[in-house]
Amino acid sequence: MTENRMGTRQVELEVLRYNPETDQEPKFQRFTVPCVNEWCVLDALNYLKDNLDSTLSYRWSCHMQVCGSCGMMINGEPKLACKAMLRDYAGVIRVEPLSHFPIERDLVSVADDFMAKLKRVKPYLIPGEKRTLADGEYKQTPAQLERYKKYAMCINCMLCYAACPEYGLTPKFIGPAAISLAHRYNQDSRDGGRDERQEEIATSEGVWECTFVGACSDVCPKHVDPASALQQVKVASTVDWYLEHFMSWVKK
């Protein structure tokens, strides 16, 4: 009775399964999962694992759109499973691991490539001005914070990589999230590491691989707008080039 009052429904989940020890290739498996209407896809997967098939593998942690672990393709769209509400879906819900990444097992994708790229762009503060503890904190005005705040919201969920066709076709592309994070630190008034990061991102494997499809910004669950970061890095790199080749007397 309680369940009925809350509103329940039988949800058909079609889940891409892959067991590296026994399977030659992934294949879909259909489950009927009794769900509460207010659940998200992650709740349905948790019910499935707890009650129907304990061998199902997937990543999740916070269940509140902060940790970035539960990214997967839901009806062909990169989504956080904790943000995909069942009430927004009718009929069979098809769940697959994130596109463009190798499949480790079931819904778990291999994140090694992204992690290596993240490390390359040095996504941390490289102080421009060395200060000791006695000098006090690095101060910043609201206007200086506004310059990069949007790009600091990234949770490394990799949905943008699953949406980006350039990354799918050319895996060496450093990609939306890593370049956005590099841009975030380049825009920070306390930072002095831009030259080091430009070595990685103002290159053919960096921003110049991007053709501004804009899919990354469409799917970002935190509204980081990676496409804007990449276009701004292109504009800034172009200005750098002109300054260096035609106006070398102007100090950057």
């Binding site: 590296p20 992934p26 190798p102 499949i103």
Partner: protein, 130 residues
């Protein structure tokens, strides 16, 4: 247990059929073909103009053919699509921050439309058409 990750290849020639947003992107890219052909026609017109009045009249006559009119209508539609799609994403590449706030996207893209209409009117006025 050994790792054996499974790689799903992206089809190199048909990937853009997979999602409507990829189709919209390809439509924007395809517009350049029509704009390119139109530019070549414009250059041919300039060359005919430099050769004399008779040659230029012949060029104008060719432009009046139904096939040519159809092409120009198509090229107009594609170049408008190109203009609108690029102006609408311009705020991503050129954000304007004044004080503690960024200008809304509509102001930045709206500015592009205003400059576009202004320049078009100026050129028509300058050329004596208006």
């Amino acid at each position: 247990m050994s790792r054996r990750p499974y790689v799903r290849e992206v089809p190199r020639t048909t990937w853009f059929f997979k999602h409507p947003r990829y189709m919209r992107y390809m439509a924007r890219e395809v517009t350049c073909i029509f704009i390119g052909i139109y530019t070549v026609i414009l250059l041919v017109g300039l060359a005919r103009l430099s050769e004399g009045p008779a040659q230029y009249e012949g060029f104008l006559e060719a432009l009046r053919q139904p096939g040519s009119v159809l092409f120009h209508l198509l090229a107009l539609a594609f170049s408008l699509y190109n203009t609108f799609t690029w102006f609408n994403v311009a705020p991503k590449a050129l954000p304007v921050q004044v004080g503690d706030e960024h200008w809304p996207d509509s102001v930045v893209s709206g500015g592009h439309y205003v400059v576009w209409v202004g320049l078009s009117l100026f050129i028509r006025f300058w050329a004596g058409v208006l």
